[in-house]
């Protein structure tokens, strides 16, 4: 072997090792000895995950979406309604409840006042529930929306609408749209990662599906136990050295076939195997929190119950974003408190409040909050009326689904923190100021990332589809 040949092979190998899913230089043709072909014949047609520029200068580069599945009670957390005390135990007049979409309870159900106390938090004085003390400590960084509304009043349809813009199946989800639009900065991790805690969601995989977009954009589930990514670990007995040697022979044989057939898909496959190997190498380091100082671990609460499961995911979310992952979705289930609201809501707050606030603080102190958009919320809210399934039991009361008026919060890239947007009536029954539909939320999220939501489209079945379907307006009030 001559020195040139040796160099050529070395370069080629490192080239395959370093490039992500696709290959993007003309030199590749030379390296593979496929001179004389047109460029189009050699290159895999575009790397689907290559970083791309949005429509205009973005405020945020990444998204962390904390999806609180089931519908957290805005009345007990975000939207104080002292007037409910006045009506507690009474039915509302029929004129108010007529046509109200209700899943379980009847229009005659009695009003349930919140036992929570609310205090002004931060310099902005935003009122938050006593069960969110940690969130209160970052009140000046978050933008609380009290006027969200949606069209669906059951969980799975509601989740489909929140993430795909329609209650129909088969459409891409928010995370998939974002990675489709922006690509990924990471060379060795997926662009869209999903982390779960709690009991599992109604929507399951449909909440992070790529729908009709290519499957490169589908969310990759990182699991909290076992392999973080499915099939990440080598089978028993396969050492790292052996895996590398196997990939080397695999690459050489695949190159043989590439030479023989000229099918560029083989070049993509070689690159995909190399990325897989890099994921295997990168993941353990990602998951190893030993480099996190004690005060950070304590701030999130990663080492103790009940915060641990959600804290681990929040810290992981920061580490993923640090490593260039575009969209991280944390799903925590379930906030669907039809019964025993006081007990169950407390439990979820105890699990999630500290880590969620810690994530904001941590991102901020690292200067990452400016370019990371953080979203917190569920698919709808909960009724001001009580749902009681076991009347004989004390404290059995919960709340039904309420799609007409509920709360969410946003923080970070492009968002004006320390403000409350929107207002509901004195019973939190309806919105009286600044209604924000889920399509508006989606449009605003895409806006923060530099997209005109009407122009981020994908042609399918003869039509250009978009996340916001045929509606949605950017909510300027939310923006910094």
């Amino acid at each position: 072997m001559t020195w040139e040949e040796f160099q050529r092979i070395q370069t080629r190998r490192s080239f395959f090792r370093d490039c992500a899913c696709g290959i993007g230089t003309a030199a590749f043709a030379h390296l593979l000895g496929l001179e004389g072909r047109t460029l189009a014949a050699i290159l895999p047609r575009d790397n689907p995950l290559a970083p791309r520029q949005p429509h205009f200068a973005p405020k945020a580069k990444n998204v962390i979406f904390m999806f609180m599945e089931g519908g957290p009670s805005q009345i007990d957390l975000f939207d104080p309604k002292p007037a409910l005390q006045k009506y507690h135990g009474q039915s509302l007049p029929e004129s108010m409840t007529k046509d109200l979409p209700l899943a379980f309870i009847k229009p005659t159900a009695a009003v349930l006042a919140s036992p929570r106390t609310f205090k002004p938090a931060g310099e902005c004085g935003m009122e938050l529930s006593d069960w969110l003390p940690h969130l209160a400590s970052v009140a000046d960084d978050i933008c609380l929306i009290r006027s969200m509304h949606t069209d669906a009043f059951n969980h799975h349809p509601g989740q489909l609408l929140l993430f795909t813009g329609t209650t129909q199946f088969g459409r891409p989800t928010l995370g998939a749209w974002v990675v489709y639009g922006l690509g990924s900065e990471s060379q060795n991790l997926p662009g869209f990662v999903v982390l779960t805690s709690g009991v599992g969601t109604s929507g399951g995989a449909t909440n992070f599906s790529s729908g009709f977009l290519p499957s490169h954009y589908q969310g990759v589930l990182f699991r909290s136990s076992g392999d973080p990514i499915l099939y990440l670990s080598n089978p028993p007995g396969v050492t790292r050295q052996m895996q590398r040697a196997s990939l080397d022979v695999l690459r050489d044989l695949n190159e043989e076939r590439l030479q023989a057939t000229g099918d560029v898909e083989i070049a993509s496959r070689i690159a995909a195997y190399e990325l897989a190997f890099r994921m295997q190498m990168a993941a353990p380091e990602l998951l190893d929190f030993s480099d996190e100082p004690t005060h950070i671990r304590e701030m999130y609460g990663v080492d103790k119950e009940p915060t641990r499961p959600f804290a681990v995911n929040c810290l992981l979310a920061r580490r993923l974003v640090e490593r260039g992952v575009r969209f991280v979705m944390l799903m925590h289930a379930s906030w669907d408190d039809h019964t025993e609201l006081n007990k169950k809501l407390k439990k979820n707050c105890d699990i999630t409040d500290r880590p969620a606030a810690a994530l904001i603080k941590d991102l901020k102190q690292r200067g990452m909050l400016d370019e990371t958009l953080v979203v917190w919320g569920g698919e709808f809210g909960r009724t001001p009326m009580a749902e009681i399934r076991k009347p004989e039991e004390a404290d059995n009361a919960g709340r039904d689904h309420h799609p007409v008026a509920y709360s969410m919060w946003l923080a970070g890239g492009g968002i004006k923190g320390g403000q409350v947007v929107g207002k509901t009536d004195e019973l939190c029954f309806k919105i009286v100021e600044d209604p924000i539909h889920v399509h508006d939320l989606q449009a605003t999220i895409l806006h923060c990332l530099g997209f005109d939501h009407t122009r981020l489209t994908y042609r399918y079945m003869g039509r250009d589809f978009r996340l916001t379907d045929v509606s949605g307006h950017v909510v300027k009030k939310l923006l910094a």
Partner: protein, 864 residues
């Protein structure tokens, strides 16, 4: 005719706005101007107003909400919400109410200049005076778009003349070659025989050829050796498995309900079994269609014909307790219509659920006329015994009935259940009275199909099945009152265990989900904006008559729809179907958008060939096998798939077919191939679904631990991918990694992506690793005990060919290296090959490493 204030699909927005705007806007009551006094002439006074203010949305170009105001007949008929002009009653005419802004939150036109009070007064006067409209106006012009190529019946063209006649094996080739010659391109040479047998085996049966099949084919010197191979593969029982999968994609088959609870559907497989058998028997496609659309309506319908209607039972079922039952049913009917539209017509019919189709001539009325066929059907479950089931069942039945009744009697179920039923009926009659029973009733409605109907049928009039469905539910959900009685709950638990035991031993008949015609069909309406609560005008069942008329006296049922679909004069069904066969055999249809033959779909690359094939298909009695045989015996199909650099720029998508295509295998076939070459495959055809091993905590992703994954045992673990239990909210990862559709909507063509997760899946999934170990075992067991012979055998098992010298050299180097490592590290070797026990594990372990490489080769998961 809705105002632009309300965005489409904002279901609750209407309610929200109605109440909010009322409080925000000044409550000025819009006044209705009095009619003008003078005599109104339509042409002079009215038409100019319509033209200026209405025709943009209700004129010749589009008819929003079905209303057009440029034609007398159409205008008086009204829109989807009903009539808008009531001659003689202007105040009662919706037209006037809307232009005057009398309806809260709505005014017409929604944008641009409104009608002046004077103009409203003119329109009022016109209506008061009888709404006369000169007779000169003609009936509405035909719809735009119906002259689109796909909506005209196919005519069989003569295969074109070509210069290189020797290349032509059958008429298919004439069409392909004529185009290539016109472009000055020569076709590719025929692929090697090993490539051909591997291609054919994978395309026709979904399984790679065995080394002995390859050897036999290579030594068969008869001139028709290829055709004989084709015939053998077409006759294989695995043919039905391979081709059923495409059909299952269209029907969006799954083994669970979907939505939140996503309960398993233990009987869904029975329809899949029907499909496999029908394809294996080469049931003519027209019959195949009729039985699936309306098998239950055929005179003297057999059980199998009823099972065929299970096609429509792949719709999702939302059992969230809070679901609105009417909405849930509406969604299912929508799914049925859309699926039929995609599957048979290749049209995006679903677009017309909410409004007239924007591009194709499908109106919203058309949509609900199709919908009406399915609105008249109800779901049912029937006994669907497989051969051999009936005897044991009948023998065991009397004893089983007796024992079950004894158990129910012993625990006094009849009386308890009667009380429970009474409470449920009470809750239904007086909601809000007892909250705990309200909830019990809500759950009951969501969980027991047609439960309320049974509840309201006196016990003595219920069928055995109905009674049983209720008892089984009661015993598991005895309601709030009994739940407080600890002793009773203990008893019921005891009873459940005994009943479960009794059931486990009883040879029950297979069941099948089917459709049956409702004897008292409900009225079907246009649903405004596709919202199930907003009824428009009533419609009758009718197919797309602009595409093909239907006889006036045809019964308004699914059988008429089915026969219309497979009528020889239907321009779409045959084209759409042969195009899909083509798609599976070349990786791309002649119409690339196989799901959309409408005006937005791609134009056919070879329109004459498509039409020739469509007519040929019908001429051959709709025989799918004959059409596949015709295509795969063509010279076009037999070409090499090697890239042609000189054509990359000219024909990057290989539309001209100057070569075959190299295609990554679908998800199921990747599994099947690994199992087949390693010798693990259980080739049993048909039957129930299986659950192969998957990471243990994956099922937790399902809602509230409702998804269970009891791993299949024994040889069931090694059945083909087609049989993997499809759990909609937590699908089997290997299927999803390799682009299997999510089964929530109809899928006409799969993607072929190329991702790192696929690499991890093949490298590290225990199922594939087990195959690697088995392949190593097999090679060591079956090949002559020499390294070269073993390598050769392993290659032939996996790729149907021997390795090239370079490949052999590289793999030998790898094998030697691995042998060295294994010898040096026996612990790792033993971990890799635990079966070695006390003996030296290094050789089998090194072969496991080689096998693993072979199963990961791009060529292994590709059909060339």
């Amino acid at each position: 005719m809705d105002s632009g204030i309300i965005a489409p699909k904002m279901r609750w927005a209407a309610w929200f706005w109605a109440s909010t705007l009322a409080s925000v806007l000044p409550a000025a009551e819009p006044a209705l101007p009095a009619p003008v006094k003078e005599k109104i002439e339509f042409r002079r006074h009215v038409e100019p107003i319509f033209k200026a203010k209405c025709h943009a949305c209700h004129g010749p170009a589009q008819q929003m909400n079905g209303l057009r105001l440029d034609n007398r007949e159409a205008a008086l008929a009204g829109g989807y919400s009903g009539a808008v002009i009531k001659p003689g009653d202007s105040a009662g005419s919706r037209l006037i109410q809307l232009v005057a802004g009398l309806e809260k939150g709505k005014i017409m036109p929604p944008a641009g200049p409104r009608l002046s009070p004077k103009e409203v007064a003119i329109l009022r006067a016109w209506i008061e005076q009888g709404a006369s409209w000169p007779e000169s106006s003609t009936s509405p012009p035909p719809r735009a778009g119906i002259s689109h190529w796909a909506f005209r019946p196919p005519v069989k063209p003569e295969p074109p003349a070509v210069r290189q006649r020797s290349w032509v094996r059958n008429p298919v080739d004439a069409f392909i070659l004529a185009r290539l010659e016109a472009e000055g391109i020569s076709p590719s040479p025929e692929a090697s025989r090993t490539t051909l047998i591997r291609r054919l085996s994978l395309d026709l049966t979904g399984l790679p050829p065995r080394p002995q099949d390859v050897a036999e084919f290579l030594t068969d010197n008869r001139p028709d050796a290829y055709e004989r191979l084709v015939d053998r593969l077409l006759a294989s029982p695995h043919f039905g498995e391979k081709w059923a999968r495409h059909w299952l994609d269209l029907a969006h088959y799954a083994d669970s309900d979907g939505y939140e609870k996503d309960l398993p559907r233990p009987h869904a497989w029975r329809w899949r079994h029907w499909v496999i058998e029908a394809l294996n028997r080469d049931m003519p496609f027209d019959q195949f269609t009729i039985e699936q659309i309306a098998g239950d309506l055929l005179p003297g319908a057999t059980v199998e014909q009823k099972i065929a209607t299970g096609f429509h039972r792949n719709t999702l079922t939302n059992r969230e307790a809070g679901v609105d039952r009417n909405e849930a049913r509406f969604e299912q009917l929508v799914s049925r219509v859309n699926t039929v539209g995609t599957t048979w017509l290749g049209l995006t019919v679903g677009c017309a659920q909410c409004h007239d189709h924007k591009y194709d001539p499908i109106t919203q009325r058309d949509y609900y006329q199709l919908f009406a066929y399915f609105d008249r059907a109800e779901e049912d479950e029937i006994d669907a015994p497989l051969p051999g089931e009936i005897g044991p069942y009948l023998r065991a039945l009397p004893e089983y009935r007796r024992k079950r009744q004894e158990l129910l009697d012993r625990y006094g179920i009849a009386a308890l259940q009667a009380e429970w039923e009474r409470n449920l009926r009470e809750a239904a009659a007086h909601p809000g009275k007892r909250l705990d029973w309200d909830f019990q009733l809500t759950s009951f409605r969501a969980m027991v199909d047609a439960g309320e109907k049974i509840l309201n049928t006196p016990p003595e009039k219920r069928t055995e099945k109905q009674q049983r469905r209720l008892s089984d539910y009661f015993i598991r959900n005895p309601g709030p009152d009994f739940s407080k009685d600890k002793a009773l709950m203990g008893k019921l638990k005891e009873l459940r265990e005994q009943l479960d035991k009794l059931d486990a031993e009883f040879p029950a008949l297979s069941q099948a989900p089917v459709l049956v015609e409702n004897s008292e069909p409900p009225k079907t309406h246009v649903y405004l904006r596709g919202d199930y609560r907003r009824r428009g005008v009533e419609v009758q069942p009718q197919p797309l008559t602009w595409l093909l008329a239907v006889r006036e006296d045809a019964a308004p049922n699914r059988l008429t729809l089915a026969r219309w679909l497979v009528s020889r004069d239907n321009p779409l069904t045959a084209r759409v179907t042969v195009n899909r066969l083509w798609q599976e055999l070349f990786g791309r249809g002649l119409v690339a958008t196989s799901e959309d033959f409408g005006t937005q779909g791609e134009k056919p690359s070879h329109p004459e060939l498509l039409d020739w094939l469509a007519v040929e298909f019908m001429d051959r009695g709709w025989s799918v096998k004959q059409m596949i045989r015709l295509i795969v015996t063509s010279a076009t199909y037999r070409q090499s798939s090697e890239a042609r650099p000189e054509l990359e720029a000219r024909d990057p998508d290989n539309r001209l077919l100057a070569r075959q295509s190299r295609l990554r295998l679908p998800a199921e076939l990747i599994r099947d191939s690994a199992l087949a070459v390693s010798g693990l495959l259980n080739p049993e055809v048909g039957g129930r679904s299986i659950r192969p091993p998957q990471p243990a905590d994956l099922e937790k992703l399902g809602y509230a631990n409702s998804v269970k994954w009891p791993e299949s045992q024994g040889k069931d673990r090694y059945r083909r991918g087609l049989y993997i239990h499809f759990q909609r909210t937590v699908p089997y990862p290997q299927l999803m990694n390799f682009d299997a559709p999510d089964s929530n909507v109809s899928c006409s063509r799969r993607r072929r992506s190329n991702t790192p997760l696929q690499a991890l899946n093949l490298l590290n999934d225990p199922v594939f690793f087990e195959a690697a170990v088995a392949l190593a075992d097999r090679v060591l067991r079956e090949a002559p005990p020499r390294q070269e012979a073993r390598l050769d055998y392993a290659f032939r098992l996996c790729l149907a060919r021997s390795p090239s010298p370079r490949e052999r050299e590289r793999l030998t180097k790898f094998l030697d290296e691995q042998l060295g490592w294994m010898k040096a590290d026996p612990t790792a070797a033993r971990a890799l090959y635990p079966a070695a026990g006390g003996s030296d594990p290094s050789e089998p372990a090194a072969w496991v490493a080689v096998s693993r490489v072979l199963l990961n080769l791009d060529e292994f998961i590709t059909r060339e």
